[in-house]
């Protein structure tokens, strides 16, 4: 057992996978000598050499498109895109090819690649460095969209993603990269993609969240109990596609109330999907509207004002109180 930050845990998962399978490659801008702008690829070049940890020129679509070709040659590439806001440069390759390879060739070619994307705000970064594109990718069939919330599940899910037979968009909450440490077992762990987890058991209301917002959500749960005697259950989605709606339904059926929390924009976001699923299966259990505490339907402001945009524990508490008192 070691106490690792998320950066270290992700690094460990990649090293483990690369040691086990020579087909696993790492590619991206500055992932080699520089060890990644967030240092997530630390030591990979040293250990695996420039044939397996590959610095690329500056072109996101070529990183993804090239990785698709590498998949056809039997590799399992892990691509690092430096920031959320530059994943769009590669969007047409993901939409047009990575996600379609299996279906259109009837399984003759597949795309077992991982696209690692540091996402989200809260680190006082310049424009285009604090985006939340997860709903955009979750809407595309053929991808898995995974979003860990802590070092331990990050490591397990990245391993799963690397060995997944289908393409995985792996969002890394950059605000959590070094925010806290967690015990991580010595042996590689896996976690199935598509399963949520109960981050906190409770009975009065269900708070559904993921990624960076989970911290604020947990904080809110504490406060709800301490200050308002409300016992909140917190669900950490971990995977946005597929979405583990069974776990959500179970929890909502138990509590009758829910709030969904994420930092990307509300309109057509993941929160809406959670609500729609609950309505489809569990409407009659609902005792109050499900609220969404999210980033607003604006571009995330430049960082001086970003804290006004990002949901904090207070907004979650407020929504939960309104829901309980409905």
């Amino acid at each position: 057992m070691a106490e690792l930050t998320m950066v270290q845990a992700l690094n460990l998962a990649m090293k483990e996978a690369m040691r086990e399978d020579p087909n696993v490659l790492m590619l991206g801008q500055d992932v080699g000598q520089d060890e990644g702008v967030f240092r997530v690829t630390e030591g990979l070049l040293r250990e695996f050499g420039p044939q397996r940890c590959i610095d690329t020129p500056l072109a996101e679509a070529a990183i993804i498109g090239g990785a698709i070709g590498l998949c056809y040659k039997g590799f399992r590439p892990i691509c690092e895109l430096q920031f959320d806001g530059f994943s769009y440069q590669a969007f047409h390759q993901i939409e047009g090819h990575a996600r379609r390879a299996r279906t259109r060739t009837m399984g003759r070619y597949t795309c077992p690649l991982v696209v690692r994307i540091p996402y989200g705000g809260g680190i006082r970064a310049i424009e285009h460095h604090s985006e939340g594109p997860e709903a955009t990718y979750a809407h595309l069939p053929g991808l898995h969209v995974v979003l860990p919330s802590g070092p331990r599940n990050a490591r397990a899910l990245l391993r799963e993603a690397i060995f997944s037979p289908d393409p995985v968009i792996f969002f890394e909450p950059k605000a959590l990269y070094r925010a806290f440490r967690e015990e991580v077992p010595d042996e590689p762990e896996t976690m199935p993609i598509g399963k949520a987890r109960v981050a906190r058991e409770g009975k009065d209301i269900t708070l559904v969240s993921y990624g960076a917002s989970l911290r604020q959500t947990m904080e809110a749960a504490e406060e709800l109990l301490d200050e308002h005697d409300i016992d909140a259950e917190v669900i950490d989605l971990l995977s946005l596609s597929p979405l583990d709606d069974e776990m959500i339904q179970q929890s909502i059926r138990k509590t009758g109330r829910g709030v969904v929390i994420h930092e990307s924009p509300r309109h057509c976001g993941v929160g809406a999907e959670v609500v729609a699923r609950v309505v489809e299966e569990s409407l009659l259990y609902l005792e109050a509207p499900i609220k969404r505490v999210t980033g607003f339907d604006t571009t995330i402001p430049f960082f001086a004002n970003e804290m006004a945009y990002l949901p904090d524990a207070g907004r979650v508490v407020k929504a939960a109180l309104e829901t309980v008192r409905f």
């Binding site: 490659l25 044939q51 690329t56 020129p57 072109a59 679509a61 070529a62 993804i64 498109g65 090239g66 990785a67 698709i68 070709g69 590498l70 998949c71 056809y72 040659k73 039997g74 590799f75 047409h92 390759q93 047009g96 090819h97 299996r102 279906t103 259109r104 060739t105 009837m106 399984g107 003759r108 070619y109 597949t110 069939p141 053929g142 898995h144 997944s164 037979p165 289908d166 598509g194 597929p242 979405l243 709606d245 069974e246």
Partner: protein, 372 residues
């Protein structure tokens, strides 16, 4: 410095061997076994006849919109002669002749144009990718494949195709740049058929040739008479050999012409003149190649008749196979992931219940069942 002209250490050459007027340049003529020449000819003719038939099949609604390849057969077929089955072939969407050479059953190609995924599933035994619709997007995975060949050190090369219009897309640029940086064994053939739908080559880009775009990436460029199968073979063989020996990628511009419409949804008379088409007809790669074979006594009327009949037989057989193909409305769910997700299982059940009536009391119905 202070002020000097910069010398570019890259070869941009042009090549043509087979005349459409005048004499054959025997010095440049490649030595190709007679049998191979005949096989090449047969493939080219198959492609032409397949093309003609597809236009008919589209007209009677048996297949959907179709993009003919008439006039461009040599440009895609020649390069295929330069590679083996272990090499990689990445088509755009006008490489029917190449696909037939590589062993794609005609029925599969028909099924693609008929709207069936099976048509995008490459035959076993060759390392081919299917038709690619988003223009130039294939350049990227072609680059990735070539890069993979280099990493695997398996001696394989990748020959990929794109149109003149496709050279304007960012994907083309990024892919060639990567290929050059990694010295990946990629041969990128631009089928410059002078048009991108209604946009003529000169308004697609201001560079005098497409071959010279290679200079931007520090690679060699080759402008080849794309209606000359011998020139296409020679140029690709050189590029393939260089690539195999670690010499990196090459850009080949095949100068050809789309004799037909862009697709069956297109009306080329809206944007180009009859005279222009007429001007290109004498350069049609098929009669040029036929003339060559005849001059070498490899073809006579009798042999031609035999070949034609054989092709006609294959065509009928392909159409029969096409007709027999049973489409599966549930494939969309089953083929999506290695394992169906719970949502897809539910949705498949939803559709099944709807189409087949399920246990509900509603009568089975749906527009889909009407077209089944």
């Amino acid at each position: 410095m202070p002020r000097e002209t910069i010398q570019i250490p890259r070869r941009i050459e042009s090549l043509s061997i087979l005349p459409y007027e005048g004499e054959l340049d025997t010095e440049l003529e490649p030595k190709i076994p007679d049998n191979d020449l005949r096989r090449l000819y047969k493939t080219m003719l198959s492609s032409r006849k397949f093309d003609e038939r597809c236009l008919l099949l589209q007209r009677i609604g048996k297949i959907g919109t179709y993009g003919p390849t008439k006039g461009q057969e040599a440009a895609s077929l020649g390069p295929m002669y330069a590679i083996g089955n272990d090499d990689w072939f990445v088509p755009s969407f006008r490489e029917t002749a190449a696909m037939l050479w590589r062993g794609w059953p005609m029925s599969k190609i028909l099924l693609w144009w008929g709207g069936n995924e099976i048509g995008a599933s490459p035959p076993e035994g060759v390392n081919d990718l299917p038709i690619c619709v988003p223009v130039a997007s294939q350049c990227q995975y072609a680059m990735g494949i070539a890069w993979g060949c280099k990493l695997r050190q398996d001696g394989a090369v990748c020959v990929a195709f794109v149109g003149d219009g496709g050279t304007s897309e960012g994907d083309f640029h990024e892919a060639l740049n990567f290929a050059a940086v990694y010295q990946a064994p990629l041969v990128m053939v631009v089928q410059n058929n002078q048009w991108a739908i209604s946009i003529p080559r000169e308004r697609q880009t201001r560079s005098k040739t497409i071959a010279q775009k290679a200079i931007a990436y520090g690679m060699d460029g080759f402008q080849v008479d794309g209606n000359d199968i011998l020139a296409m073979i020679v140029a690709t063989q050189e590029a393939v050999e260089k690539a195999r020996n670690g010499g990196g990628p090459t850009l080949i511009e095949a100068q050809t012409y789309r004799l037909g419409m862009h697709t069956t949804a297109d009306d080329p008379t809206k944007y180009r003149s009859e005279e222009e088409v007429k001007k290109w007809e004498p350069r049609d790669p098929l009669p040029r190649f036929r003339k060559y074979l005849k001059s070498k006594k490899l073809l006579d009327d009798k042999v031609e008749k035999v070949i034609e009949e054989e092709i006609d037989g294959l065509l009928e057989q392909a159409i029969a196979e096409y007709d027999q193909y049973e489409k599966d409305p549930y494939y969309m769910f089953k083929g999506m992931y290695a394992e169906m997700t719970p949502a897809l299982r539910r949705q498949m059940a939803e559709l099944r219940e709807y189409v087949e009536g399920g246990e509900s009391s509603e009568k089975p119905r749906g527009s889909y069942s009407r077209v089944l």
